[in-house]
């Protein structure tokens, strides 16, 4: 039953890729289509509200400027709300203003789509903040990421000067994708018992006569967009492990598919834009292959369990249940963990800190590579970056100018790609080293030995990949952690986005090279293999030493 239920979910996902991908393509192709009749009038109203008179295309620099400006304004407003929430409405549980460095971390965390949480939702945020800051940013940051990914795809698949109009993309991402989908998923989740109320925390007397407080709130409305936007920040501290956020295996599957289907359909969207669907499927297959490797690692490690507990003579045949919920068991927990770290969502339905060393390695590895589907387009951008790197390496081997999708890959592009690829390990490994060298960093470690190394490594990897899950044992609500992870999230998001928009801006202006028999094909099985190999050689080897010190050492010591 374990493997069967995983296969069914995977099959449903694969079946959804084409219809969802086709829909998304029509949203952003900007060619007239049936969707316009439904959404057109409402969008015109929004364009009027925001004063967008001119929907013509932008150069990459203007595109980057527009999305940065929008994000800066949203960040500023959100920060103010968090700092002043005590005085604002919908604060029925009487929550105080948020502290300065924590507000800094929180606002960056949500604007960058990371959703790393150094606060606990039940006690740190008013309902107004949960809605006007957290829920709002879950929409806007997802729409930002999605728009940039589409702009990048336009850049590498079309010719001319422009890569689209950011404000138009941003509005359409909301009106045609995130808002309608969020309303549907919200109501579906409520039907499956996720609460949605503005009533404050209730206090009850239990069967045994004790007093129990139960925190409630507008959970389902946040839960839906949290997954659809690959955000991942939970309403409650324990995120989707909380029975209110994720009451049964059906909500678990709805949440898995919600966070997975958009990233998974993006390679198909890319194929449509490139007018070469096979190219899209090659990228999808490479991602899926990597995903299955990591999923198997997590599933079988968790099923094997913790040798130290297995040795105690109890019935441990179920696998490692520490930090997991009975309703999910090993299969639904492993699948959720593999998807959340692949899609850079960062929501968790079990505690990743308690995973077996190799299970934890699976989640860590997906974030280190950051190409296994990835959230709201970042994974696709990164994977295409590796694809260009792949053709570059192959070009070097046979001694000819590398080409990708009919354009020459030249020094300028390679330099930008190198910046984007090197930035990721740099902002993970350097802060990790700094944390180990200072008492401020070391003081947060709560699990002794090699696992402590993994805790710190995971925190920065999660920040850099804009994932936001944590080895939550880490005592990370201190100015040191709030500020360092805040900066890592900022760089992790914007450095690669801007670098890749620059690549798109440079490719869009290039001469097309006619395809000949000598052209190195990038839409066949050979390239699928080259792509995976490039990801492993370039992406994975960088992290090997750190992995050996952390999870692998712990695994060997546990026996």
């Amino acid at each position: 039953m374990g493997i069967l239920q995983i296969i069914i979910v995977l099959a449903v996902l694969v079946l959804l890729v084409k219809p969802v991908g086709t829909y998304v393509y029509h949203v952003f192709s900007n060619e007239p289509n049936r969707q316009d009749r439904i959404f057109g009038p409402f969008e015109k109203f929004i364009y009027w509200l925001i004063g967008l008179k001119n929907q013509s295309g932008m150069t990459w620099k203007k595109y980057a400027l527009s999305f940065l400006l929008t994000n800066i304004v949203l960040t500023a407003v959100g920060y103010l709300i968090l700092r002043l929430q005590k005085y604002l409405p919908f604060n029925s549980s009487g929550i105080d203003n948020m502290e300065q460095t924590l507000s800094f971390n929180t606002i960056i965390s949500f604007m960058t789509n990371t959703n790393l949480q150094h606060y606990s939702g039940e006690s740190g945020l008013s309902y107004f903040s949960q809605m006007a800051v957290i829920t709002m940013m879950m929409f806007t940051s997802a729409a930002t990421g999605f728009s940039v990914a589409i702009a990048f795809v336009r850049g590498i698949t079309s010719r001319g000067e422009t890569i689209g109009n950011f404000f138009q993309d941003f509005v359409k991402a909301h009106t045609r994708i995130f808002i309608p989908a969020a309303v549907l998923v919200t109501l579906l989740l409520v039907a499956l018992q996720v609460p949605l109320t503005l009533d404050p925390t209730i206090t009850i007397t239990t069967v045994e006569g004790a007093v129990q407080s139960i925190a409630l709130g507008p959970v389902a409305a946040l839960e839906s967009i949290k997954h659809l936007g690959t955000n991942g920040g939970g309403f409650f501290g324990v995120n989707s492990a909380h029975p209110f956020e994720n009451p049964n295996s059906l909500t678990n599957i709805v949440e898995i598919l919600s966070m997975w289907v958009l990233p998974a359909s993006l390679p198909y969207v890319f194929g449509r834009f490139a007018k070469n669907r096979k190219q899209g499927w090659v990228v999808f297959s490479a991602m899926m292959t990597l995903f299955l490797l990591f999923l198997s690692l997590i599933y079988f490690s968790e099923l094997r369990g913790n040798p130290a507990i297995n040795a105690m003579g109890i019935d441990s045949s179920q696998g490692s249940m520490e930090g997991k919920e009975v309703r999910f068991g090993i299969p639904q927990s492993s699948l959720f963990s593999a998807v959340t770290t692949a899609a850079t969502t960062g929501t968790v339905n079990n505690m990743h800190d308690t995973l077996t060393p190799l299970g934890g390695l699976g989640t860590l590895g997906e974030m280190m590579l950051n190409v296994v589907f990835g959230g709201k387009g970042v994974g696709l951008i990164n994977m295409l970056m590796y694809a260009m790197l792949g053709v570059f390496l192959c070009g070097l081997m046979v001694g000819r100018t590398p080409e990708f999708l009919g354009r020459k890959i030249e020094p300028r592009e390679m330099k930008l790609i190198a910046i984007a690829i090197l930035a990721h390990p740099f902002i993970i490994l350097v802060p990790t080293a700094i944390a180990f060298m200072t008492d401020l960093g070391q003081g947060a470690i709560t699990n002794p030995g090699s696992h402590g190394i993994t805790q710190v490594l995971y925190e920065y990897t999660s920040s850099a990949a804009n994932n936001g899950s944590g080895f939550e044992g880490l005592a990370d609500n201190t100015p040191f952690w709030n500020i360092t992870t805040g900066l890592v999230m900022l760089f992790g998001r914007y450095v690669s986005m801007i670098a890749m928009l620059a690549v798109a801006g440079s490719l869009v202006r290039k001469q097309w090279v006619p395809e000949t028999v000598g052209t190195f094909r990038t839409d066949n099985k050979l390239f699928y293999g080259i792509l995976i190999a490039t990801v492993f050689i370039i992406g994975a080897l960088t992290f090997l030493p750190a992995i050996v010190l952390g999870p692998i050492a712990e695994h060997l010591k546990l026996g």
Partner: protein
């Protein structure tokens, strides 16, 4: 769509900033206020029981819990839930986040086994399911595995005088199978089971 937008190059930055400000306000109101309030309204209207946390009331109408949130049961005559480092206080949520190699976690598990032996001398430790003595992720897990309920039957039978056959029937009746027959795990809701047990004792 390919005509250049920069008709007034110098003003671009400023006009973009203005659009950015207006767009931010529009989406704060649309996504941050209208969307949650509207969906809350709809959910409250058509699915009030679910939307309010699936609360369970006793015969006199007092709320005694939520079927989704675990409760602490200390009295050994009741079925016990899983380990919760927060004692099932649902004002918050969480667990210790113990690594598999953490000595405190191994000690806690060893202590649970010793405590189990004292309270359940009739059931060999080799039958004690791992789920029962591990901390759930949320600290609020409302369920235990069916096996975790079955191993508690001899103890409860002894303390309450109820027949083991009756208790087995009770557990069977409260065992929820996999969702749609395939997904998730079979499970027993401890609160509902204990409410039924309470009725049986009376």
């Amino acid at each position: 769509m390919n005509n250049s937008s920069a008709s007034v190059p110098g003003a671009t930055g400023a006009s973009y900033a203005l659009i950015a400000v207006r767009a931010s306000l529009v989406f704060i109101i649309l996504c941050g206020i209208i969307y949650p309030l509207a969906t809350t309204g709809i959910a409250q209207l058509i699915m009030p029981h679910n939307a309010n946390g699936s609360l369970i009331k006793d015969s006199s109408g007092n709320v005694i819990g939520s079927e989704l949130i675990g409760q602490k049961f200390e009295d050994p005559k009741y079925f016990q839930g899983r380990v919760s480092s927060i004692d099932y206080n649902a004002a918050g949520s969480g667990s210790n986040n113990y690594a598999p190699s953490n000595p405190d976690m191994l000690q806690r598990t060893q202590d649970s086994i010793e405590a189990w032996k004292k309270l359940n001398p009739d059931v060999p430790v080799s039958k004690l399911p791992i789920a029962l003595i591990t901390n759930s992720g949320s600290g609020l897990d409302p369920h235990i595995t069916p096996a975790s309920a079955e191993v508690q039957i001899p103890r409860i039978s002894k303390l309450t005088g109820l027949l083991t056959a009756d208790l087995e029937k009770l557990v069977d009746k409260h065992t929820e199978s996999r969702d749609l027959g395939v997904f998730g795990e079979p499970r027993v809701n401890v609160l509902k089971l204990n409410l039924a047990l309470q009725a049986l004792i009376k």
